[in-house]
Amino acid sequence: MIARRSPDVVMTLARLGSLHQSRLSFMRQLTRRMAREAWTFRTHTFDIDDQGVGHAVYTAQGPERVYSLVAFAHDLPPEMRSDRVIATAWDATFTLFDGVPSAEDIDRLSQNIPVQEAGRVSERELTVSRANRSVRLWEHFVDALAAGQQPDPDQLEAVGYLMRTTAVYGSGKLGAADREVIENRPEMQAPFQAEMLTVYLIRWFVRDLVEHMARAKGGANAVRLDPGMARRLGIGNSTGLGMAPFIVNHPVLFNNWIMAREEAIARVRSIDQAAEDDVTCFTDLLGRAEISVAAWRTEHPVQIAKLNDLKADIGILKSHLMSVNWNAHLPWDDLLNWSEGHLSSEGQEWLASLVLEPYGDIVDGLCSCMADSYSQANIINGAMPLKDVRELIEQSFGWALAVDWADPAQTALAWYVSEEKLEPRLGNRFEEPIASYEQPLAPARDAAEAYRKAGKFPGDATTAAFLEKHPECRHTVRRAQMARFAPYAEIRSNTIASDVLPIDMLRAKLSFFGVTHFDPRSDRWVRVCMYAGAPYPLDLSSHNFDHWIYPEAIQ
């Protein structure tokens, strides 16, 4: 068996910021399950007026339970349209309801969902979400369809979606059901399934809404959106800095995601002989994945350079593949070893995700290992000898022990939460009055500090004795002890250095959701696309549930 890659390789921010979706992604887990279990979908209510104001309810019926998307459509003045968490109004707002809502539920939700953070929801609600229109694409679609025309495919491709979500809250936020309430349901066991279902149903609603608005404008002249064009529409997502701390604050969960993907890669690397069908599947999907890369648009200089690297990598890879001997032993291991010497990080990770595709039988079982169900992970073992804690810190943060933490460039930034709507922000420690509000999001600096303090204790001291004297090291010791079973829990880069790119943290998380087309708007803000190419709920079947993320060539 070929070993998993070392955390030293995988867990740097540069590498995490190059990750791509794979078969393990949460969106693809959801569509696979719903297709296999033959879920049924229904438009329960569509009560929206000609101004685009009203509500709609869509239901998703699984083997044991039914979930409903409750959507509220609003008429938003342009000056109020903001993707930031400080916004107070949106083009549309949503909740995923556990069951089918009654008229009383709709009445209650209509007073709370449209105001998002200013409202309250109950244990019957699993998520709370909102979305804004892509103004130019929305207007183009409504105008074209109202005039009896199909929209311009080039404009569709330039944006990719009609609406983008700006938050999808779950896990007890705003009073919604805690994760514990749903985690034992098979369909909710994998991470973020309620959130992914919410967005999947939102995409359906948005298609209905744009056709409705075109009919309201064009009357009898209006036409429906061509199904092929509808399918290429995704749902955008606009994600800011607020998501970045998640992967630091959930070390075991994040470890489980990375470890599942690394285990999948190691399993495929260990395949002795590649069957012809598997090679065909791989090369076919490689061609389709290349179409997706060609459609990837960004204006951000860092991502432009990475995208150019990736396009060059694909050329190099394709010419290499012409000379690969697929009958050799361990062909996938050979290919990935070759990639490490010839492709950029973007290209290596793109390829690593792609080689998993033919092997659902040995990869997909890992999906059930991606949740964090180990409730004892947070308990500190006070009896552990302190020298073992120091060794664990060396394992995860050996690189950080060599950093000069007195150099202001290494601690230039501080993460904090603003009073304004509790928005997470990043500021300059030495220029803004924020240091005393710093959040514990610099594990590497704190580990180096704890390591130094622990070094002054006697060799046979216990963790408990150390923590009694140094309670300020408690969060660090907790994380260090997690490394015993979570080797991929810690980012191996400095999260407060002057040159840190928070978009790398955002991308690491979003790649596991299964998004594509990362388009940074700054070093701490990114737009992405979800579900582009996916069959709509009523079309989801055993023929199209798996590889929809790879576009087919347009005939």
Partner: protein, 190 residues
Amino acid sequence: MTMSLNEVDAMVRKAARGAGLDWGLAEEAGRAARWLCAQGQDGVGAAAKALAGPKTDRCTVSSGARLADCAADLRNGPARFKDVLTPQLFLPFAALAAKMLQVTIEVDCDGHRAMTDGQSLTLSDDFPDHASIVTVRVIDVPVGIECPMSRAMPDPEDWAQLEALAKLTYAPATDESRLNGAGAGLSDND
């Protein structure tokens, strides 16, 4: 109004930090309050009382953490703590010790008793708000299985007190922070 347990955890963690506890202890405080609420106890009220007290090593959260850290010592005999404010908040830490040792642990507050095996809790109705002597020991008695609660119903005044403490962890907005801190700045009207 009911709160999710995640909201309780997050609020108590922030309030504990706002009250001056180190981050690692603030995390313990949040989880402790959450655990009490899941047992049907007033975890928010216990946290509000404890955080109103002194933030020294006599703070209930610090003592509780020490109890859990030294759980292995309970095998050799009971642990004693003097003059404990809000001993209810001690119980989640006793539960951590019980989980680690896989035993039942009794917490005796001047004769008023509570028992936990880590999952469930039984305690006397007159469990006090203050104890001169708290004795924690391993006992050989099984604890009945309780159905965990999934919501908390905190007293609004306790919640407001925690909110006031949590607010101390939020940085006042400046123009620079408003403009650059979240990193957007581009128009979303495109």
